[in-house]
Subunit: 230 residues, 2 copies
DNA sequence: CCAGAATGCGAGCGACCACTCGTGTTTGTC
DNA sequence: GACAAACACGAGTGGTCGCTCGCATTCTGG
């Protein structure tokens, strides 16, 4: 016989205005302000522990301890360990969408290649340095299937955006070449991100510049003279 | 009270001519042909299981089952799970040294950049497609410390080799720039390797070519006209 | 102020897994 | 053939970790 507990962890935002309609299952569970605070605490603690240990090596007890609560309290708000990573991933994905929306959306063919690349790289790297967990969750080989799906979805979205950007810069190019080029660009960025994150200060800045150089030099010869060479 | 078992797993090659000298601890344990065969079997099984599950998710029982032996038999030849990965890593490292010795050693400044890059990339990619475990062991975030050390050692060695190659091509370049460039090159290669391994056939070949393109276009502008432009 | 819900606790349960041990079988040696 | 050593087995052990349960405490609506 199962308990009817928890089951509602991904509910921050939409805090009020419960929907009492629909089929009679999964009844609300009103959340108090204290609970919302606990959830934020737990997610922050989880982020910290995931960063240092990786997902599967991180124990739920360690997360609870880091958050200063008991294991039981953790499971008051999350049905299982995976749900913590899911919620963390969802929140990051949400903020990510805000960021890369600005970073890649404006496919203005007037802007020169160097500026476009520099702006996109800067934004993405800023996001990853602000949220180190993101890198851990997206690059861990031991992550639960659901997060891997989110990663794949993000990856596909990014490739799609880059494809759009590329095909507006290189109009007469076969689709498969555009797709491949987009994948290569994203791969270059990921490799560069790793290098950037393992360095500090001036050295880090130098690597950021190198990533931009690699991308620009890779893309420049493709467009003939259509890519504004400033 | 400890058992005096096993403790000798990394001993293939040097099969005969035991050294009965030295301090009286760790007595030999002569290995029969059957045992050598089992070790090979187990390593192959471990490679297979590591590839599909990753290191920490792979259970020793699963490895034994894959090899068609009992868990006890596995521990007849390896003191623990980590030792299996170590031995596997050592063997791969050995073959790797043979490969990259040929791939990066000849720092002949006469060969044009494109050829040097193409040769190195081809060899390394061939090695990784022949030994998929290598990629798993070197990129897993959940690997034991000892393998991580081996990975770091290999990484440093490779960076050193690339530095040598670069500074012979770009003589009047500050050392820190050379080092950074070498790291970037290796990063590009690794990212490319991942792309290559996730594709098959003609698509794979196309990605191989792209990796070469990225490296060449990245390095070409650095050397002024010293880099032979064919 | 007082039910009832939400929150909080922490010992403990069950499952899994690396690893062991007692015992039986094969192989090499004299 | 006899003895020892290497090999093989697989049920079992200890420890870890995700997760639970009964109960105490705090909040909220009426």
């Amino acid at each position: 016989m199962f308990v009817n507990r928890v089951r509602r962890a991904g509910d921050n935002h939409v805090p009020d205005t419960e929907k009492p309609a629909s089929a009679g299952k999964e009844q609300p569970r009103r959340r108090q302000a204290r609970g919302e605070r606990r959830i934020a605490q737990l997610l922050q603690a989880a982020a910290s522990v995931f960063c240092t240990s990786g997902y599967s090596a991180a124990s739920t007890n360690a997360i609870a301890r880091e958050a200063g609560v008991s294991p039981g309290t953790l499971y008051q708000f999350f049905p299982n360990k995976e749900a913590i990573a899911i919620e963390l991933g969802d929140q990051l994905m949400h903020r990510m969408r805000e960021t890369y929306g600005e970073a890649l959306a404006p496919v203005d063919p007037a802007t020169p290649l160097e500026e476009a690349v520099a702006a996109a790289v800067d934004r993405f790297i800023a996001f990853n340095t602000e949220h180190p967990v993101f890198f851990t969750l997206m690059h861990g080989t031991d992550i639960p299937g659901r997060i891997a799906e989110e990663h794949d979805a993000l990856h596909s979205t990014l490739v799609g955006r880059i494809e759009g950007l590329l095909s507006s810069l290189l109009p007469d190019t076969p689709q498969d070449v555009v797709t491949r080029t987009a994948h290569v660009c994203l791969g270059i960025y990921k490799a560069g991100l790793e290098l950037v994150l393992t360095h500090e200060g001036a050295e880090r800045e130098a690597y950021v510049q190198e990533v931009k150089n690699v991308l620009i030099r890779y893309l420049e010869p493709l467009g003939g003279d259509r890519l504004g060479r400033a």
